[in-house]
Point group: C2
Chain length 212, copies 2
C-alpha cells in the first residue's frame, strides 16, 4: 500500500534516472554479497559513487530501496534465463537449463545463493512488505518454468500437472541453491535438480513410450 517506489515514472531527468539506477544496482550487488542488514546505506552510497543524501532523494527510506532491489533482481533472474526459458519445453532444454545454473554457481564460487531467495529468507519474518515482493518474484519465476512444462503437456508429451511440477522444480532449485551456498560446493544443486528433472522425465511419454 505505502512505501512504493516513488517517481518511477518520467518525473526524473535522464541524469537523475541514471543515478537512481546506479543506486539500485549497487544496492543489489551489496545485498547479494553481504545480505540486507549488513549492507549499509553508506556502503551503497560509496559503491554507487554518489554522495550525501542522494539515496534519500530517490528513495523514501531503506525499505523503499530494498523493494526496488527485489524487483530489480527478479527482472535480472528472469532476464538471464529468458534465452533458456524459450527452450524449456523439452527434457533437453530442461537439462541445459540445469547445466547453466550449475555452471553459474561454479563461476560464483557458490557464493550468494539465489538473489531472490536469499533476500526472502532474511526478510520473511520481519518485513511483510518485502516478503510479499519476494513472493511475487517467485510467482513470476514459477510461471516461467510452468510455461515450458505446459507446452510439453499440451503436446501430449507430459503426463502430470504442470503447475505442481513447476512448483516442485522451483523448490528443488531453491533448496539446492541454499545447500550449495552453505556447503560451498555445487553438488547439492546438481543432485537436487537432477532428481527433480528425473522425476519430470518419468512423467514424459516419448512417442511410443508409455509409463510403467
Amino acid at each position: 500500500m505505502t512505501t512504493s517506489t516513488q517517481s518511477s515514472s518520467g518525473r526524473l531527468t535522464r541524469k537523475g534516472e541514471a543515478t537512481r539506477q546506479r543506486i539500485v544496482a549497487a544496492a543489489a550487488q551489496l545485498i547479494y554479497e553481504r545480505g540486507v542488514t549488513e549492507a549499509t546505506l553508506e556502503d551503497v552510497r560509496a559503491a554507487a559513487g554518489v554522495s550525501g543524501s542522494q539515496i534519500y532523494h530517490y528513495f523514501a527510506d531503506k525499505q523503499a530501496l530494498l523493494l526496488a532491489v527485489i524487483e530489480y533482481q527478479t527482472e535480472a533472474v528472469l532476464g538471464l534465463q529468458e534465452p533458456l526459458f524459450g527452450r524449456m519445453d523439452s527434457m533437453e532444454g530442461l537439462r541445459r537449463w540445469r547445466d547453466a545454473l550449475v555452471e553459474y554457481q561454479r563461476r560464483m564460487q557458490c557464493r550468494g545463493g539465489c538473489p531472490i531467495g536469499s533476500i526472502g529468507g532474511e526478510v520473511a519474518e520481519n518485513n511483510p512488505e518485502a516478503r510479499l515482493a519476494v513472493a511475487s518474484g517467485f510467482l513470476r519465476w514459477e510461471a516461467a518454468i510452468r510455461a515450458g512444462l505446459s507446452a510439453m503437456h499440451a503436446r501430449g508429451e507430459l503426463d502430470g500437472d504442470p503447475e505442481d511440477l513447476a512448483l516442485a522444480v522451483l523448490a528443488a532449485l531453491q533448496g539446492g541453491l541454499l545447500l550449495t551456498q552453505i556447503q560451498r560446493e555445487t553438488r547439492p544443486l546438481e543432485i537436487a535438480l537432477d532428481a527433480i528433472l528425473d522425476h519430470v522425465e518419468s512423467r514424459t511419454r516419448r512417442a511410443g513410450t508409455t509409463e510403467d
Copy 2:
C-alpha cells in the same frame, strides 16, 4: 579456533547451567521468530528472564551465543524427528515423515521456515564460522535421512544411490520450507516433498514381502 562455547564442561553449577540453557532457548526462539539480526541481546535477556550482563557471563559475545543456538536447533530438529527417523526405512515411513512436517508447518502458520536453514541463509555470506556450524547441522540431518534409505538399499528394496537421494530429499525439504515460509501456505512444501518421494518410490523394487 576461537569463540568456542566456553565452559560447556562442569565448570558451571547446576543453577548456572540452567540459566545458560534458558538463555540459549530464549535466543533460539527469538532468532526463529525474527532472524539473527533482529533478535537483540536485550530481547534475549528479557525473554530468558535474566538481567544485566548475564549473557556475557555465559558467552563471550553474540557470536558465541549464535553458535550455541545453531547447535541447539540442530539437536532440536534431529530430536523432534528421531521417533520418525527410526521408521524412515520404508515408503510408508517416508510418507508419514512428510505428513508430520507439513502438519508442523500448518500449526506454525507457515512461519519461521527451517530453524537451521533460515539461520544459514542469513549468515552464509557474512559469518564463516556460523556458516560452517550450519553446514555441520545439515550434514547430520542428511546422514539421518540417509540411514533410512541405506537400510532400504541394503534390503534390496531401493535402487539408486542413498547418498544422492538423501541429499535430494533434504534439498527438496529446504526449498519447500523456504517457499512455504514466503508464501505462507503449505502447498509448496507438500508438492516438493511429494515429488521427491515419488522419485524415491520410482526407484524402489517391491519385493515379495508385503509385510506391514
